[in-house]
Every structure is written in C-alpha cells, then in structure tokens.
Symmetry: C2
Subunit: 539 residues, 2 copies
C-alpha cells in the first residue's frame, strides 16, 4: 500500500538538458564559428555524444566529482560540450573571463582550485603566462584539432581536445546527482578587492534557463534560432546555452568575432530569430546594418542588460520590427533577474508611456523577489519614487560567495549595491550603483539619469558620468562623451541638451570627449578608472 | 568562511505563485463568470488578499496542514482562491469531477479523507445526496454570497463562502513548506474499478505550470489573456490556473457555461489570446462562430488534448489565424506531457507534411521522458512504426496512486496503457488504448486510426470505433457516427470514404448513426458503454 504516491522524485540536472535535446530535437542544428574562422555545424544528437565522450575523457584524466575545471573560451561548440560534460559528470565548470587582469586570472584559478583548463587558441599567450603561476592545473586542453594547436610546445600537460575525446565511446551514464550540487562557478569582475565567486547549482541554472525560454523573457521555441552574443564566460551567457536545448531551439555560437559585420553575417546565414547581448555590441550591430543599408530579415527579439539600454537604441530596433527588451541581473543572480514584461494595457498605451516603461529594468519572473530598503533596512514603498538599495532573493540568487568571509546577505536577502525604485505595478528602475551616486550641495544625483539623457542625443554613441571632488559643492558631475562616427558635437550643444531636460543641479560641470570609454572584463564602463584619472580636475 | 555559497535554498510553493502575481502584476485582471450569470472582475492583488483570508478561515474551522479539502466547482474566481488558499496553507485540494457517478463521488470523498467541501450552487442537489454518505465532511461551503445560497436548509455544517472569509484580515504569512508536500489530488475517472488518486506536489505543479507558459506549449506572457475551457476539476485545468499568474497573464474563467455562444462572448469581451480545451468544446465554439459568421478577433493559440484532435479542426482554426496545438497527458502526468512543437524546418515544410506532424501528439518538454516497449518490456526503436506500450517518467509524473496497492510503475517508468509509436525526431503518436485495440483475423487494428479517417469526412461531427465479437474473425470494427448538424450522410458514403483510405481489413463491418456519443466524467467517449450495448450485434 503506497500511502502517498506523489510525483516521482527526480533531480533537475544539467546532463538531462542535452539528453532531452538529443532525444526530442536530435536533428536541430548548433552552428559555431571556429576560433580559426569557418562555421562548424552539427546536431544536438552529435553534441550529446561528444559531451559524453568528453565526460569520459575527463574521468580518464583523473578528474573526480567535486573537482573544478576552468575554461578560457569563446562561444563555440566545444565550449558548449564542456558545459554539459563538466557539470553533467559532477564537476563544476569555472568559466574564466579572459578580459580580467592576469593577476586576477591567476588569483581566481588558484582560489577555485581548478585542476584542468580548457582554452581556445586565441588565449595561448595568456595560458603561457598563467602556467607558471598555476601549479595545481595539471591539464591544459586546447579546444581544437591537432592542425590548429597553438604554439605552446613544452607546456607540461598540454592536450589537444579532439585527440583527447577521440578514443572514447560516448557510451556513458551520467551520474544521478543531487540537484543542489555545484555545477558552475563565475567570479565577479572585482572592481574593488579580489573577484568573488558565485557558485551555481544544477537546480538554479535549470530554473533560470527554463524561465529564459518563456515568452516574457527570450521566448524560445523549437522554431527559433538563438545567437547569444553575451559570452559564455560572462554569467554562463545568461543561461542561453542551457535554455536553447531545453526549448529545442537551434543554437548559434558566434566564436571570437563580435563585431557588427560578423554578427550580421551569422544572423542572416543561420536565420537567427533571438539574440542577447550588452548594449554596446547591439549598437555595433545596428551601426553596421544602418551604414550598409542592410535588413535583419529573421531577427525578432533581443534581450539586453549589463548596463542601461538607451531608449534610442530600443526605438531604432523597433523601427526594424525587432523587440529590444531590457533586463537586469548580476553575477550573484545567475543571470536574468528582471525583464521588460508589459501587460496588454501597458503595451497598448500611448507611445510615450510605453517608451517610459521599456526604458526601465522591468519585472521579476516567478521565482525571484525584489524590494528596496532605506539605510536602516526598512522596506520602502513601491511608489516609483522612493529610492533605496535594491535587495533580491529567489531560486537562482546566491546565498554567499564561494570560500569567502564576505556575506552579501541580510535577513535572507542579497544586497545588490544598486540604488533603485519600484513602482506600484512592480516595475524596477535602477537609479545607480550606490558608489556611483553623486553628492552635490547636499543633494544626491543619479549618474545614470544624466547618462540616460546624454545618450538620447543623436550624436552621442556612449556617455558616462562620475562625481568629482569639488571645493564648493563637495562633488560635481563630470560627463564623458564618445561621439557617434561622423557626427559633430560641441561642448555647449550637449550641455544645452542636458539643461533642457534635467534640473540645473544635475547638469554636468564639464564635458570631456573621448575616443572610447575604458571598459572592464565584462564590457562595463570602468568608472573607477575614470575617477582615478579625472578625479582632481575641479581641485 | 562560507565554503560553498551556492544558490539560496528556497522551496517551490503554490503560495508564491499568487504572491508573485500580486507583487508584479497586481493590477492584472481575473474575469470570472459567476454561477448565477454575471461576469465578476478583480485583480490578482485582490485575489491574493482573498486567498489569504480563506486560508485564515480554513484554519479557524480547524483544518490542519496535511488535511484534504474537496471542491465541486466550475472555473471561477472562488475556486481559484481555493486553489491557492488550500494548497498554500499546507492542505491538499481534492478537485472532484461532478460528472462522476454519485457512488464514485462518495467513494473518492471517503478515500481522500476530505473534511471540508467547497461547492458551487449548481451542485446543491449533488451535495444533498452526498451529505448523508460523507460523515467525515464537517464543512459544506457554498461558493457564493448569502443572496445566492442554494436551498440546503438543515444541512449540518453549511457555510456561506463570503460570510466565512468576511471576518478575516488577509494578514497571513503562508507556511514555509517542503516543496514535496502534497498540494492537490485528482482521481482518474475509473472506467474499470474504483477511481485511483493522483497526488501532486507543489514542486511538480509549479514545474508543469512554468512549462505550460513556454512558447512551445501555451505561450503565456503578461500581454496575454487566457481562458481555460478545460475544467478546474479535470487535472487542475492542465495547470493553467497556476501558469497564468506565473506569467502575469490575465485569466478568464468561464464558469458553468461552456457552449459555443458563451465561450465566444467571453473570449471577445475579455480579449482572450490563449485557450485550452478538449476537441469537443472546440468544435462547439467553431460551429457557433461559423454558423453566426463571427470572428475570433484576439484568439491566437489553443492547446487541446484528452482525445484525438481531428486534422480538419486544426485546419479550420488555422484558416482563422489560430494555432491549434495537440498534446497528450493523463491524470497520472499532472497535465501536459507532450505537445506539438515543430522546428523551423518542420513548420516550413510542405503543407501535407506539416499537417501530418500536427496530427500527432508531439514532443515531450524538458523534464519528461518517453519510450515505447514491447510485451517483454524491451525498448522499441524510435522509427515511427514500432508500436508498443507508452512508458513515461519525469518531474510531474506520479510514482504511484494515493493509498493504493496498484502500482503503475515498472523500473521507474509509469505504464500509460496507451499504444504508441515514436519517430526518429522524437514525435509521439498515440495509436490506441491497449484495451481499445481490435484483434481481427490475427491482425491488430487501431480504433483511433479508423476514427481519424472517419472524422476527416466533412459530414462527420464525431466518430467512435469499437471491436465487437465476431463468429468468424474473432473481432470486427463497428463504427458509430454523429453527423454534423444539417448534413446528410448515408452508410455507404462513409464506408466508401473509409475504404478509399484504409486497408480492407480496417473498414468497419457496420455503421451506426447516433445523435450523440456517450461521454464520461471527463468528456471522453465511453467505449465501455458502447461495448455493453452493442457488443453482440454480430453474434
């Protein structure tokens, strides 16, 4: 006599994702640009088989469940196989950001305790520099065939990926793990102090990925073809490498080339319907399309985040019939934590109102909750104006940092370090990073508000605002502008543009034109670098 | 020092669904047809508050976590509140099918151990008949205001829902349950023997509901408005009452009126974009729209299942720009287990091929696996022709029946009792119930194959085929036909139609025209009743 019955007690595991795709969408295509140039195409069925072979090979090398294996790789099919083979076999995949400083890379490889590193040939110089500093790494696996091996002769433990997996059968039974086992590890870019590790469980990645497939977020079905521009070393490419096989969508991995021309070519040849990336690369894609008078013939939706998505960019894509949705998330939230999700009333309202809403960071999907609190931790009203620190909790939010004394948790909620408002309909608006707020004459100014207005000027490609010490006002905003190619823009013109839309106190004290803004490992503007260089201009 | 960090360890709970909708889509509308006629509209915010008040009231009545509360109710807002209040507070909601025989109803209420029953006024006569047979039920709660109380004076424990929740504050903290706690209980319709109970966990219902929101299934976003025609007493309306607030979609509950005219009116007034129901009601809706020359101006997708969806019905809706997707599931699978999910290549292929694919039962979503096995339990090839019993396992499949000796599980897989094939692309086709297969002259005939061809005749509204004992051939197929209103159709015409498309052995021996087919509690054709009445016609 079974007293309860209930549903089967089965674990949510990364290995089940690729086996699902192989069983139900076995002929669906994964397209991948090789590091040496050409496009490689194969099916999920083949991807699953090669993932199993890699899992067998890693076991043969002596890697055990609980070990960590690192990657330094672009978005490509071998990196995808590593996603499934490493996590699926009970190890955790530590996706390293190659844009980190060498010291930081050496630090995170040591801190994670990685014993193997899989890398694309591009990063051979980095590997050569890291090897002497990373004695625990016994296996350096180049993600290529023998013919494309990078010149690293003499590196102990150097292996060729294709030769490594060649002898394996692909007849491998994935272990039946607990879904709360660690599956992947990402480090924050660490603008202050050491990078901190966010360790994700199988369960969290799957719940996040399943949510990414829903129509409110990326909307992935078997009819779709999705190209994640966001790197697989950046918060697991917002879980798209898991979401695509969950949905049965074709997956398009752009390799090392993320310029507008390369992305455009791949989007057209692979009939891409969905994409995701930071605003900068989307701007590059748009500029390429505009300047060559091209059409994005199949693309219909893009999710963006990582920094504020300019309203003008949303409008430009909308003119081409492409929805550009804005979201918010961070390494600590395993990817997407909010996304523009308008109701029929909101979407059908006057254009100005709709644009106002799409310029915000949107709503949390089921599984994640947010609140804003004042300095004493009291919850502030959801009125769209009460501004405080954003706190978050939920299924795919971390509970702490890997092997760290630093706790970002207060009463079960993660402190984000972002200043935000939430309106009565639950829509989040990020106002600033706490440390980027500008205190001037006793008032707080949001640097993002000013950047927002600056970016809407037609001649501005990018803008950044920092607070700079000022003898009279304590701090004053300083604006940096990168002009759009071929555009003229004078100091007074941009100041007049800002003056017409902002309170006088918010208009920057000075404007500095740059060729490019300094960006860090994740493509975000490094305000710390700007402060270091320009912090004394008003003294 | 936190060694692991990992993601927060939070449970997937039904109570979180309505709180999510209240927090993120607080102004979104739930429309509900009252049992006495008018349409009631309120927001998710109000729904959450009233659900909390009901939870408080049930506690006040003495119901404790682990108890069972039953419902006999249509799809309406009070039933929805019961979904959240009962499961959310740690009880399990037992949704009874009012179309079951009175003896079966008394049996399931006793077997479940229900101590309260919430019912719509429609079912007052049923309640009057059940009360003397159900001594364990202490509270009979009529889902209405005082003004609409049914005439049940003298029934001990009779309560008015609105009066019951009126004194409560709605200030209630949902308990933090284990996600593997029982949340809901449905009984099979029990064509042979007693009905058997499928007991669902919070986790299983949520994973199923989240999957229902994905673009491959119902595709629910905040812009959508969804009307579940499938009753909330039938496998939790395929989890749509959970899926809509998860997605932030508007929810439209049609109450007792499921005729074409009533459904059409509500679909238009509430701007419904998504719906779901069995083929019979979808046929009724289409006939109403056709005969009154109307337009379904907002509806874009319908999911159907429960019995074979005729290709002609899919085509008729397609002409109106409405996708009619076909799925398969059963009480034991907590709802959807497969759905038409075509890749771009399949959807873009020649129309005949596409129609062939949409006429099948589709693919499993992530979280569910299928196989077909022969009589010795050996897995058969996925070739689209090897036919065997369908076996299923996954996140929302039951592991047994509630308080039952009968186990439907073999080696971790649930036996479905359906005969099916799976093709090389993973697409399922149900061939028959094992017990409905017809054995004639040593060959097996699928009754569904024959019904399929019969239904595609333009003058056929419904068709059913059973095997009938035959002195020479052991069994021969007997066809029952319901003609479309206003259509003529003679015996020889339908036999010719079948003879042109089927092997001679499959052409029915005789045709019987009926005004209607006998249907059971869940709206399915009762072949057992047909066999009982016509089983001897060839003797």
């Amino acid at each position: 006599m079974i007293e309860h019955g209930l549903n089967m007690d089965r674990q949510l595991l990364i290995s089940a994702i690729i086996e699902h795709a192989a069983a139900q969408y076995g002929s669906q295509i994964v397209s991948s640009r090789e590091t040496h140039g050409p496009i490689h195409r194969y099916t999920y069925r083949e991807c699953a088989r090669r993932s199993r072979r890699l899992a067998q090979a890693l076991r043969r090398l002596g890697l055990q469940p609980g070990d960590f294996a690192a990657t330094l790789a672009w978005n490509n099919h071998r990196h995808l196989e590593a996603y499934f083979a490493v996590s699926g076999s009970g190890l955790a995949i530590h996706t390293c950001n190659p844009r980190l400083h060498l010291d930081q890379l050496a630090y995170v490889l040591d801190h994670a305790g990685d014993t193997a590193l899989l890398f694309d040939a591009t990063f051979a110089p980095l590997v050569a520099a890291l090897a002497p500093r990373c004695p625990r790494i016994r296996h350096w696996i180049a993600l290529c065939e023998r013919a494309h091996m990078p010149p690293l002769e003499g590196l102990p433990g150097l292996l060729c990926y294709e030769e490594l997996i060649a002898p394996e059968t692909g007849q491998y039974a994935w272990p039946d793990l607990d879904e709360r086992t660690a599956a992947a590890l990402c480090y924050t870019s660490g603008t202050t102090g050491h990078p901190k590790g966010a360790l994700y469980t199988h369960r969290a990645l799957i719940l996040n990925a399943l949510t990414v497939t829903t129509p409110g977020i990326l909307s992935l079905a078997a009819e779709d073809s999705v190209l994640p521009i966001v790197p697989m070393f950046h918060i697991n490419a917002w879980c798209i490498p898991y979401a695509a096989p969950i949905a049965g969508s074709a997956l398009v991995l752009p390799g090392p080339r993320l310029d507008g021309a390369a992305l455009y070519e791949m989007m057209e040849s692979e009939r891409v319907t969905r994409s995701a990336g930071v605003p900068t690369v989307l701007l590059g894609l748009l500029q390429h399309v505009e300047s060559h008078e091209l059409e994005l013939s199949t693309l219909r939706r893009i999710c963006s985040g990582g920094s504020l998505v300019p309203a003008s960019l949303i409008a430009k894509y909308a003119e081409r019939g492409i929805e550009l949705l804005q979201g918010w998330g961070m390494t600590e939230t395993s990817g997407v934590a909010t996304m523009t999700c308008l109701t029929a009333d909101e979407a059908g309202g006057p254009q100005a109102e709709r644009c106002g809403l799409t310029a915000k960071q949107g709503r949390t999907p089921f599984g994640v909750e947010i609140k804003v609190v004042d300095e004493d931790g009291r919850t502030l009203p959801r009125d769209g104006t009460s501004q405080g620190e954003l706190m978050i909790r939920g299924q795919w939010i971390v509970s702490g940092y890997y092997k760290s004394e630093t706790s970002p948790i207060v009463d079960g909620w993660l402190r984000t370090g972002d200043v935000a408002t939430i309106d009565a309909n639950g829509i989040l608006q990020i106002r600033d990073r706490i440390k980027d707020l500008i205190k001037t004459g006793g008032e707080w100014i949001s640097s993002i508000d000013v950047e927002n207005v600056a970016c809407n000027h037609p001649s501005v490609a990018q803008a950044a605002v920092i607070g700079v010490r000022h003898p009279k006002w304590q701090e004053r905003p300083l604006l940096f502008v990168v002009r759009r190619p071929g555009h003229e823009l004078a100091r007074q013109q941009i100041l007049d543009h800002l003056g017409a839309q902002l309170a006088r106190i918010c208009v920057p004290e000075e404007v500095i034109f740059l060729e490019a803004l300094p960006v860090g490992g994740t493509g975000k503007v490094q305000k710390a670098a700007l402060r270091a260089e320009y912090g004394d201009v008003f003294q």
